[in-house]
């Protein structure tokens, strides 16, 4: 097991290194001089040159790449070109919104999807199943930003129960959770639809396994067999999907962040791209790659722990 983890960690390090190289080259190729973007139309060439020197943009690319890597290894991500504050601070601020929002949305979607999927599978082919499948179909087809706009229309401008957006900070946790509620719901609904479908089909598949037949033969009712034996086994694909949704939601919420003007991680990247704050873009992308590979590693490790055959096969 330890040898397996060491091998996986080495692969992870290589993946990260390759990712940083790709990110660096891509942003190097992208047009747009950060100094020109910051100083605007009337800036003199002198002022632009001075700013380029100040930002350290004049060194050769390889030197800058190595300096960037070395900085990140020390935990120093550098200073944002435009905000002029340390990037680690910026990312921490944004994670304080994106992290809880992601967990909130994931919790909602799981709380909706698992009971709904189990219920549909248990009533396979009957009215409840058909109704669930219909709703799932609508949920998968509905873009989350549209759900968001409808929610704002109903609960903010109409009923005025929630503010239309913005984030007051964690000074008052209740207010903060309130501000995240509509965004979390609009993120959760489409994800819940996907998860419901996975839960349902995984459960139906498991229910046709031999060991379920054995369990039924021992005298368990269908419902008992489902609860005691099928559900746990069916959770494996569901957990895989939840893991993927976590990575997606962490940075993929940028459109929802725009609708609700939330200061999240996705908007930080977006602003960074628009304002050519390339150093912010690079650092956040690297962190996201790290998050995705870590989640994958955790899932892999869990599989390997459950199933010794997986460990053997990799040898």
């Amino acid at each position: 097991m330890i040898a397996f983890l060491v091998r996986r960690a080495a692969t992870l390090a290589l993946t990260l290194l390759a990712a940083t190289a790709v990110i660096f080259v891509m942003l190097e190729v992208a047009p747009g001089d950060p100094a020109v973007t910051m100083l605007g139309l009337n800036a003199s060439d002198e002022a632009v040159a001075a700013l380029r020197a100040e930002l350290g943009l004049n060194a050769p690319p390889l030197e800058r790449y190595l300096a960037w890597l070395a900085g990140m290894l020390r935990g120093d991500f550098g200073v944002s070109y435009t905000y002029r504050t340390p990037i680690a601070e910026l990312i921490a601020d944004r994670l304080a919104v994106s992290g809880p929002l992601t967990l909130y949305a994931l919790a909602l979607s799981t709380l909706i999807a698992i009971p709904a999927g189990v219920h549909a599978a248990a009533h396979r082919g009957r009215a409840a199943d058909a109704a669930t499948l219909g709703l799932v179909q609508i949920g998968v087809a509905t873009p989350n930003f549209w759900v968001a706009m409808l929610l704002v229309l109903a609960f903010s401008t109409g009923l005025r129960w929630f503010s239309a957006g913005g984030f007051p900070g964690w000074g008052d946790p209740l207010e903060a959770m309130r501000a995240l509620t509509l965004p979390a719901v609009s993120l959760a609904l489409p994800q819940a639809a996907i998860l419901t479908r996975v839960m349902r089909s995984a459960l139906i598949e498991t229910m046709s396994e031999d060991y379920i037949r054995t369990a039924r033969a021992k005298g368990l009712s269908e419902r008992q067999a489902l609860r005691r034996h099928a559900l746990r086994n069916a959770m494996i694909p569901v957990l895989t999907i939840i893991g993927m949704q976590f990575s997606f939601l962490l940075a993929g919420a940028v459109i929802i962040e725009n609708v609700f003007f939330l200061p999240g991680l996705g908007r930080l990247v977006f602003q960074g791209v628009v304002q050519r704050d390339l150093i912010v873009v690079k650092s956040v992308l690297t962190l996201l790659v790290l998050a995705v590979t870590l989640v994958t590693l955790a899932v892999d490790a869990a599989y390997a722990a459950v199933d010794p055959r997986l460990r053997a096969r990799r040898r």
């Binding site: 992208a30 047009p31 020109v36 009337n42 002198e46 002022a47 435009t82 913005g166 725009n258 609708v259």
Partner: protein, 490 residues
């Protein structure tokens, strides 16, 4: 009975308290400033938060575009227009307690002019020969050559006065002399300022204000409707204006800006180096159709590069009226009877992308076949603005009083006219307002005659705010959300 009157009195007091005018204002802005130092960045959003509120210059620009006293309470200009003596206000202090005096003026301007300076408008300070501190309340500035616009230029956000002790930190914690001081900045969300209790001048009426950053136009509408923001002085969603106008909770004000939106033309590149071709383009353009189609009717047609709200404005929109037949005739005369092909590079703002479609359709009408190429700002700056690699583009020039760019042959229009440069020299030498207005009128006429660019429209400014909020600017003669005179009506 006694109990009843007491209860009634208490109730009346409660109602009274509930109706007392609020003292906090939440202002919506589309873009977040990248930093809060107006002397270190061109982003308009920096000035929209800090100008007049946190930072002050020697002079300031008023809501009508006029030059008014600020940290300089008065000044004298020598006959030759070369020497300016500024008398400063006394007793002013920076928000960290440091005293303001003439040495801060010298420091601020020399810092902006220094070799390694990253001031985005370094050119404003270029005419300055030397700055002398005569006494703590008097400063004398000597110019290399007469610069008629000097007092106006000193009112730009880029020319505000900063303190040597705090100047480097202004990007994240701005410290100025203004009626508001910085409280906090939740990055990506909002900046909050509060009243400066030690202000040297008339104190602000608001106790505090929050600038909230809402980029999405639909979200801006939702925020107003839900009461999350009290005012949106640069409202980004013209298509929803009728809905807001019909709602008595809001006041909607159509104002003007300094943004001349033009079809910039590469005057050095054939066939646009031919005056007849440029005139043909001018005749092919239907300004009102572009304003209606691209801007939902918000905007004022212009015939030259000058803001219509300025007293020196001359209406030249009738010089080349919309006349496709005339345009075709001019093209034939220039040797293009069947028109020609060219590209139109469009930056991201909707005035350019939507306006570009209409301009292309109008030019196709007279035989000019435009290929539209959408570019990002960074590409636009690199290819069009610095590289001068373009045929036509659409952009709004938002700097105030920027007609002088036509006197720069290396500017991306590549327009080279000695007569116009002479006019700008005369303008700089002129201090008398009437004489300046006359020269400015002549200058507008020259570039209009030469059809340097397709002059489309002045970018409008839609201000929407709670009907009880008073004192916000209607026009935007400079990029600012001046809250110094804003209050809530009872």
């Amino acid at each position: 009975m006694k109990l009843f009157t007491r209860t009634a009195a208490a109730l009346a007091m409660m109602i009274g308290a509930a109706q007392a005018a609020p003292t906090h204002l939440t202002v919506g802005m589309q873009l977040e400033p990248p930093n809060l130092d107006p002397t270190a960045g061109a982003a308009a959003a920096i000035d929209e938060v800090t100008y007049a509120n946190i930072f002050e210059g020697l002079t300031r620009i008023g809501p009508d575009g006029s030059v008014r006293p600020a940290l300089a309470r008065s000044w004298e200009v020598s006959e030759d227009g070369l020497t300016y003596v500024f008398h400063l206000v006394e007793g002013a202090r920076f928000h960290d307690g440091a005293a303001f005096d003439a040495s801060d003026v010298k420091f601020s301007f020399e810092r902006a002019m220094a070799e390694g300076s990253t001031n985005a408008q370094k050119g404003l300070f270029e005419p300055i020969e030397k700055i002398e501190v005569l006494d703590p309340a008097t400063v004398r500035i000597t110019l290399k050559r007469p610069t008629g616009q000097f007092l106006f230029n000193m009112g730009w956000g880029d020319a505000v006065i900063v303190d040597p002790a705090s100047a480097e930190g202004n990007a994240t914690h701005p410290i100025g002399t203004g009626p508001f001081r910085f409280r906090n900045w939740v990055k990506g969300d909002s900046v909050t300022i509060e009243r400066n209790p030690d202000y040297w001048g008339t104190p602000a009426r608001l106790e505090s204000a929050t600038f909230k950053f809402i980029a999405d136009p639909t979200a801006a509408l939702a925020a107003l409707m839900a009461g999350d923001v009290d005012a949106f002085p640069g409202y980004p969603s013209p298509e929803t204006v009728p809905q807001l106008q019909a709602d008595p909770r809001f006041e909607v004000v159509m104002g003007s800006t300094e943004g001349e939106t033009i079809l910039s033309t590469n005057n050095a590149r054939p066939p646009f180096d031919d005056l007849r071709v440029r005139r043909a383009i001018a005749h092919a353009i239907d300004r009102q159709a572009i304003i209606d189609g691209a801007m939902f009717g918000v905007g004022t047609p212009i015939g030259s590069h000058f803001a219509p709200h300025n007293p020196a404005y001359v209406d030249l929109t009738g010089l080349y009226p919309h006349d496709p037949d005339k345009a075709r005739a001019l093209l034939a005369e220039a040797g293009h009877p069947n028109g020609f092909k060219a590209t139109l590079k469009l930056p991201p703002p909707s005035y350019a992308r939507r306006g570009g479609e209409l301009v292309a359709a109008q030019l196709r009408e007279v035989g000019i076949d435009l290929t539209i190429e959408n570019v990002e700002w960074a590409q636009w700056l690199e290819q069009v603005f610095r590289g001068k690699d373009y045929d036509l583009t659409i952009v709004s020039h938002t700097e105030p009083m920027d007609i002088g760019i036509y006197a720069r042959p290396d500017y991306y229009f590549q327009y080279d006219n000695p007569a116009f440069r002479k006019l700008m020299q005369d303008l700089n030498a002129a201090v008398d307002p009437a004489r300046r207005a006359a020269i400015l009128g002549a200058a507008q006429a020259v570039i209009a005659e030469d059809a340097v660019n397709g002059f489309l429209f002045q970018l409008g400014k839609i201000g929407v705010w709670n009907a009880k909020v008073k004192g916000l600017w209607h026009d935007a003669p400079t990029q600012a959300n001046d809250l110094t005179a804003v209050y809530w009506e009872d």
